[in-house]
Amino acid sequence: MDVRLQISMVFHLDKCIGCHTCSVACKNVWTDRKGAEYMWWNNVETKPGTGYPTKWEDQEKYKGGWERKNGQPELKMGGRVLRVLNVFHNPYMPKLDDYYEPWTYKYEDLLNAPEGADQPTARPISMVTGQHIDIEAGPNWDDDLGGSPVYAANDPNFSALTEEQQAELFEIERLVFFYLPRICNHCLNAGCVAACPSGAIYKRGEDGIVLINQEVCRGWRMCVTACPYKKTFYNWSTGKSEKCILCFPRLETGQAPACFHSCVGRIRYLGGLLYDADKMLDAMNAQDYNLVEAQRDLILDPFDPEVREGALRNGIDDATLEAVRRSPVYKYVKEWKLALPLHPEFRTLPMLFYVPPLLPVMANTDAGTYDTANDELFAPIEKARLPMQYLAKLFSGGNVGEVSYALKKQYAVRLFKRLETVGDMDAATVKQALHEVGMTEGEAEAIYRLTSLPTMDERFVIPPSHREEAMQMLGDDFLLDRGEAGLGLRDRPARGA
C-alpha cells in the first residue's frame, strides 16, 4: 500500500444555476493577461451542447486521454517517439478558432468619432491582432441552447443514444439542459503530465495538484492535445502552456480556490482523499463499465487503522488524516457513491467528481393542454426528459447502473425529507425508496444536510499543508523553490526573443 493524499473536488450539478460567477472569479484572478484572454481555466457549459473548446469531448478529433493498447494504457495521440517527432507540427493541436478569438471593443471611438447623423459605435476588435473582427464565437456561445439544432445537436455524447431518442430530445416539450462547470481534474493518471516532453508538468506529491513549471515548459504543446478535458492551454504570447493551479497559494493558507469560494449556488465541495498508488494501474486498465468502481476502489478508508499506518509511513500526519475523515468528497464519492467522475473512459483518473442532476420530468400534453403537474409529487427518474444513457455517457463510461443509482438515491432523500417536513407522503413508499438504494435514514439525513445546509467549513475541508515545516527544512532556499511551483515566477514573464 502506497498511501498518497489528493485534494479532490465534488460539484453538485443539481445545485448549479449556471451563473458563471466561478468563471469570472477565476478570470479576474488568473487569466486576465495578454495571451491568456481566451483561457477559461474554469468554464461552465450547457449540456447537451458542444462546450469549450467546441466539441472537446470528441477524441477522434482531439486525440486526448488514454486508450488501452494490448492491455496497456497508452496516450491516444500516440507513443513517445511520435510525440517527440511531432513537436515541429502537432497534428492534433486545437487552434484558437476551436476556442474563440478574444475581443474587446474600440471604446475610444465613442468619444472621438466626428459629429454625424449616426450614433458612434464601439466596434469589436481582436485582442490578438488588434484588428476589427466579426464575432462568430465566444465563451459560452451555446449557453442555455439545449435543444438547439446547431449546438446541442452536435453534442458528441449523443452517440450513446438511438436515433429515436435523439429526435425526441429536439421536440419542444422535451427541451432540457443542465450546466456542467469544469476545471482541471487534477488527475491521478494525467495525460498532460505524461505527454510533456520537457517534464515541465508534474503532480505535487503533497496534495496532488497538477502544475506546469513555467520555467521548464518549452512550448512543445503536447499537453494541450493529451488532456482530454482540454484544460491545459497554450499562451500564444509567452509561448508556454498554462492550466488551473487549483489556487494553490490560497489552499496553502487554508482558503478555498477562488471558483469554489465565489460559487453562488454553493455547489462546490473540496477535501482530501487518500488513495493507494499501487493500485493505479488496475484502475486505469479497467473495462469501461467498471471504471467508476475501479476508481472508487483506489480511495482508501481514512478510518482504517492499517490505512493510518500506511499514511504515517508516507509522512502523512494525523492532522491531515483528520481532515480526510471529515472530507465531503470522501462522503459523496466513496461512502454515498453519489458523485461520479466526468468521462472516466478517458482513463486519466480525474479527481473532480460530479453529482448528476435530477432532471426535469416530462410534462403531460393531454388533450392539447400542457400540464407540468404530475400525479406523483416528484416524478421518478425514469420519466426524466434526458435519457439515462446520456448521463451514463458523461459520468460512468456508459454504465447506466452508476448514474441511476446516484439519481435514485437523491430522489429517495427528497421523498424522505418530504415525509418528515410536510408529511404528505406514504411512509411505505419512502421506506421502499430508501430500501431500493440501501440507504438508512441516518444516511439520508446526512446527505440532505451536506447537500442543502452545509457551512463553509463543511464544504471546504482543506488539509493543513504544513508549509511551516517545509519552511524549517528548506531554509534559505525556500523562496527559490516556491519560484518553481506553477505560476510562482521570479522574473517578469516576458516572452523570449
Binding site: 502506497d2 494504457p73 513517445r80 510525440r83 517527440v84 513537436v87 515541429f88 507540427h89 502537432n90 497534428p91 493541436m93 486545437p94 487552434k95 484558437l96 490578438v128 491582432t129 488588434g130 493518471n189 494525467a190 503530465v193 505524461a194 510533456c196 516532453p197 520537457s198 517534464g199 508534474y202 503532480k203 505535487r204 506529491g205 503533497e206 513549471n213 521548464v216 515548459c217 518549452r218 512550448g219 494541450v224 497554450y234 500564444w236 509567452t238 509561448g239 508556454k240 498508488a277 493505479m280 494501474l281 486505469m284 509511513r313 508516507n314 509522512g315 502523512i316 515545516e469 517545509a470 524549517q472 527544512m473 528548506l474 532556499d477 515566477l489 516576458a494 516572452r495 523570449g496 526573443a497
Partner: protein, 257 residues
C-alpha cells in the same frame, strides 16, 4: 586584413559571447527558453513550412557536423563516385527542402495578421539571416560542386585551427566569395543565437524517450522532517507506467534548472 577580422576575430568574439550569454540566459532566465510555437494561431501553413524546414536544416546541420568531425572518413566515402553523387545530391535535396520550408515560413509570418502579432524584430532578423545562409548554401552546392569533399580539405582545417587556438587562414583565403560569405554569415548567426528563439534547439526533449510517464515532485520531504522510517524499498516496478516518485533524500524539487 579583413580576412583576419571576419574569420578570426569575429569568430572568437561571437563564440565566446554565444556560450556565455546562452548559459547565463539558461540559468537566469529559463522562462525565455521556448520554441515560441505559433501553431495555435496558424496551423495549416506551418505544417509545410516548419516540417520541411526542420527536416532539411537538421539534415544539413548534422551533415556539416559529421564532415567537421570525420573529414577523412567522408573523403574515403567519396572515393567511389556513386557514393559521392549520392551524398552530394541528398545534401542538395535537403538544402532545397529547408529553403522551401523557410520561404514558406517567411511568407506565413508576413501574410498572417495573427502571426504578425507574435513576430518580434529578432524573429525577422533570424529569418533573414537564415534565408541568406541557406540560399548561399544552396548556391554553393550547385555552383561549386563536390563540396562534401572540398569541405574536408578547405574549411575543416580552418575550423580546426580556430578550435586549436592556432588560427590559420591558408586553406580558407583562396576560396570564392560566395563560400566566404556563407562562412561569415554563419558567424553572424552564432552572434544572434543567444538573443533569439534559436536557443530552442538546445532544449530538445530527448530524455523524454526514457522518462517514466508520470512525474511526481515533493516540494519537501515529509518523512525526513517527521522522522518517519523510510518505506521499505518498493518492489521492482512491474508496471507499464512507473511513477518517478521515489523520495530522494533532497529538499529540492526534482526539476532541472
Amino acid at each position: 586584413m579583413y580576412d583576419n577580422l571576419f574569420f578570426i576575430i569575429v569568430p572568437y568574439a561571437v563564440t565566446i559571447m554565444a556560450i556565455v550569454v546562452t548559459a547565463q540566459r539558461y540559468f537566469k532566465k529559463p522562462f525565455t527558453y521556448s520554441s515560441l510555437s505559433s501553431q495555435f494561431l496558424e496551423s495549416g501553413e506551418l505544417f509545410y513550412g516548419s516540417v520541411s524546414w526542420h527536416i532539411g536544416i537538421l539534415a544539413v546541420f548534422y551533415g556539416h557536423l559529421i564532415g567537421l568531425l570525420f573529414p577523412r572518413q567522408v573523403l574515403w566515402l567519396n572515393g567511389v563516385p556513386a557514393r559521392l553523387y549520392l551524398l552530394e545530391s541528398s545534401g542538395l535535396l535537403f538544402g532545397l527542402l529547408s529553403l522551401a520550408g523557410l520561404v514558406n515560413l517567411i511568407i506565413r509570418r508576413h501574410t498572417s495578421a495573427r502571426i504578425r502579432a507574435v513576430t518580434s524584430k529578432m524573429d525577422i532578423v533570424v529569418l533573414l539571416l537564415l534565408l541568406t545562409q541557406v540560399a548561399l548554401g544552396v548556391y554553393v552546392a550547385i555552383f561549386y560542386r563536390w563540396g562534401s569533399s572540398w569541405y574536408a580539405t578547405s574549411l575543416v582545417p580552418y575550423l580546426r585551427s580556430l578550435f586549436l587556438l592556432q588560427p590559420d587562414l591558408a586553406t580558407l583565403a583562396p576560396l570564392p566569395l560566395a563560400i566566404k560569405l556563407h562562412v561569415m554569415n554563419a558567424w553572424l548567426l552564432i552572434a544572434v543565437f543567444p538573443f533569439s528563439r534559436l536557443v530552442h534547439m538546445l532544449v530538445v526533449p530527448i530524455p523524454y524517450l526514457w522518462r517514466p510517464y508520470q512525474v511526481v515532485i515533493w516540494n519537501w520531504n515529509r518523512r525526513k522532517i517527521r522522522g518517519v522510517a523510510a518505506r521499505p524499498k518498493p518492489r521492482p516496478v512491474a508496471t507499464a507506467l512507473p511513477l518517478s516518485d521515489e523520495l530522494k533524500p533532497t529538499n529540492r524539487p526534482v526539476t532541472t534548472r
